[in-house]
């Protein structure tokens, strides 16, 4: 790797079935007493891929990441990170990875430069290599001229980019980002995802967990984890195929709760969920007219403003997969 990143390619996924595997997870299990936090999870991530890990809090995302980082020993199964077995050589894994956690984990009372110097020292960077990496991080995070600002005084977006910079200071081939964009404004989040894209196209493998389903669209592939089990795996496009034969109707009405109840009684509706002020209804099959559904609802005395087919979002996918709780895997 070079210290300067090539310019980002226009959204062409840099991975492919020909790229070497960077992370290889097979039947990974982690128990805490009787509780199974991670239950027989298998997936692989290719070099240069942005791999998203979706799941509710406590679903097993962080436990999986901690095992992949060598912090937690798997109960059974194997995980190879950069070719290193996490159970056999956890210290070897640490040399392969960069990590940025959900919490802001820089030293807030130190300046930008002092933080970079500290992490450089921890990773054993010295001399010219350190200076080059320091310059890279400052440019990447857009912190030139702010080297001597106390980290606490930086805005969330800057801090996040600095944290990412410190996580890749030692040029790791694989980066784990554990909910990296929590509490950051939308513009900064967008900039952050641009950075992740740049990193990936330079060949860095990125495994990222997130709560924000709109953000997950930036990932090349996604895994949805629910109650410790991997319940869906594929690109956002592939995941949305669960709705190929089950179209989604979006119903706008004055009283969404009553509308939802009425929809649940409709024979063609499989299930419903609330999206803001609208209701999404998953239909059992194609060929149901939106107007017919609207008419049926109005017949129930509901004030329906609009009924239309919508393209499924990742949120629809997520709710559907979680709802079926594991059968979709």
């Amino acid at each position: 790797m070079t210290s300067a990143l090539p310019s980002p390619e226009p959204r062409a996924p840099s991975h492919g079935s020909s790229s070497p595997v960077a992370i290889d997870v097979r039947h990974l299990v982690r128990r805490f007493g009787a509780f199974v936090a991670v239950d027989d999870v298998s997936f692989d991530v290719r070099r240069g891929e942005i791999f998203g890990f979706l799941g509710a809090n406590g679903a097993g995302k962080s436990t999986t990441i901690r095992m992949l980082c060598g912090l937690l020993t798997p109960t059974s199964g194997t995980a190879l990170v950069g070719g290193v077995d996490v159970a056999r050589d956890p210290e070897g894994v640490k040399r392969q990875i960069g990590y940025m956690s959900q919490k802001f984990s820089l030293y807030e009372s130190l300046t930008v430069d002092q933080n970079i110097r500290f992490f450089g020292g921890v990773y054993g960077l010295t001399g010219e290599r350190f200076e080059a990496r320091r310059a890279f991080v400052l440019d990447m995070a857009g912190l030139r001229g702010r080297e001597h600002t106390i980290t606490k005084a930086l805005s969330g977006g800057w801090r996040q980019r600095l944290a990412l910079g410190c996580a890749v200071l030692h040029e790791p081939p694989i980066v784990f980002l554990d909910e990296p964009t929590g509490g950051v404004d939308p513009v900064s989040r967008r900039q952050f995802w641009d950075l992740i894209g740049t990193l990936a196209s330079s060949g860095v493998t990125v495994l990222v967990t997130t709560h924000y389903l709109d953000e997950a669209e930036h990932c090349h592939r996604l895994a949805i984890i629910h109650r410790g089990r991997l319940v869906a795996l594929g690109s956002a496009h592939e995941l949305k195929q669960v709705f190929a034969d089950r179209p989604i109707l979006e119903v706008q009405s004055a009283r969404p709760v009553e509308t939802m109840a009425a929809l649940e009684r409709h024979p063609d509706v499989e299930k419903t969920s609330i999206f803001g002020t609208a209701v999404h209804a998953v239909l059992r099959h194609r060929g149901v007219g939106a107007d017919a559904v609207a008419a049926a609802l109005r017949a129930d005395g509901l004030d329906i403003r609009d009924v239309a087919y919508v393209t499924p979002s990742l949120e629809d996918v997520f709710l559907d997969v979680v709802d079926r709780g594991g059968q979709a895997a």
Partner: protein
């Protein structure tokens, strides 16, 4: 390893430097504590108001009264001419003690007839009262002997003199006894707390998690974190010793080298204890309480600081063997008060070294387990 230690150390020093308040607390609160305790914790009894019922009114009796007043322990509170008046003076606390000199005191003394003077002491504070009784006894004996020596015709040297001599602390000032204890007590608390808090803070803020993701040896991390606090704790301990010398006339009769060695070993153990606590405590609050409890009580009560260990029940005495301040106090008193050399207290230094070795190893063991 050394690169990591240096990186962590530089970071820690920068953090401490940024956090001026903590630095000031670590350096000067100990000295402040010393002043507070040093002046308040004082078992010496002075300025006891003394009422006098002089029924003899001779030069000998007046000499006795002035011997009391000039001793520095007593203050003349006024005459009491009758029993009821004496009662009133003691009841209203205008006098804490009274001296009754019988009629014919001077005459009998000159004739070498045994005489008795009466000292009445308010016993509501048993501690004070017993001290007053012994001061008074000493003064009366001395005054009598002096008087005899000046009486013409009395055979010189006929009276057997009693001449007590107290070594190392001839004025029996309790400060000299207490200050080394205070030094141990204050340094112990600050060293244990600062070390425990420094490590737990990283756990609480999540920076520890970040560092665990790096290929860092836990021992290197902890060493880097603790060394700056070792320097601060040492500086702080030396500072309070210097303050004690300036304000409480604490002598330094022994070698500075031995003094520094004793402080160093003692603080090493205290920091080990702090580290051990940091591996158990999940939050800074718990760490603070554990640190305070495990250093404050044993050092105050079980070290021989105030209560002599030899008069404790056997079971409690057994516990004192694992209180490092016990050994440090012996070493400190030996060096500064007695000017003793290493031969006298090497066992105590050895005990301090063993304590430090054991707690540091325990902390390392727990840390490695926690880390992986």
């Amino acid at each position: 390893m050394t690169a990591t230690i240096r990186a962590v150390m530089v970071k820690e020093i920068r953090q401490i430097a940024r956090d001026r308040r903590t630095l000031l607390i670590l350096l000067f609160i100990p000295a402040f504590f010393l002043l507070l305790y040093g002046y308040a914790l004082n078992f010496d009894i002075r300025h006891i108001r003394l009422a006098v019922d002089d029924r003899d009114n001779s030069s000998a009796s007046r000499a006795l009264v002035s011997a009391f007043v000039n001793s520095g322990y007593f203050e003349y509170a006024g005459p009491a001419h009758s029993g009821p008046e004496l009662d009133r003076l003691i009841d209203t606390n205008d006098a804490r003690a009274a001296l009754v000199i019988p009629d014919g005191y001077g005459r009998d003394l000159a004739r070498r007839v045994p005489v008795r003077v009466q000292v009445i002491v308010n016993g509501d504070n048993a501690n004070t009262a017993s001290a007053v009784v012994s001061y008074a006894g000493a003064i009366v004996a001395e005054a009598g002997a002096l008087l005899l020596a000046t009486v013409p015709g009395a055979p010189a040297g006929a009276v057997v003199g009693f001449e007590p001599r107290v070594w190392y602390n001839p004025q029996l000032r309790s400060t000299l006894f207490l200050v080394p204890g205070l030094i141990a007590y204050i340094s112990m608390i600050t060293a244990v707390i600062s070390t425990a808090m420094a490590v737990v803070r990283e756990k609480e803020r999540g920076t520890m998690e970040q560092i665990r993701m790096a290929p860092v040896d836990p021992m290197a991390f902890v060493l880097g974190k603790t060394l700056p606090y070792s320097v601060i704790a040492f500086a702080s301990a030396l500072l309070i010793i210097l303050v004690s010398m300036a304000l409480f006339d604490l002598p330094q009769r022994g070698s500075w080298w031995l003094l520094c060695l004793s402080i160093g070993l003692f603080l090493l153990g205290a920091q080990g204890q702090g580290l051990l606590i940091s591996t158990v405590a999940p939050t800074q609050q718990v760490a603070f309480q554990l640190a305070l409890l495990s250093s404050f009580l044993p050092t105050f009560i079980l070290s021989g600081f105030i209560f002599p260990i030899t008069s404790m029940p056997a079971a409690v005495q057994a516990i004192t063997y694992v209180v490092p301040a016990r050994y440090f106090l012996v070493a400190l008193r030996s060096v500064v008060l007695k000017g003793a050399d290493l031969l006298v207290f090497w066992q105590d230094l050895l005990a301090l070294a063993i304590f430090a070795g054991v707690v540091l190893n325990l902390a390392a063991l727990r840390l490695r387990r926690e880390w992986s």
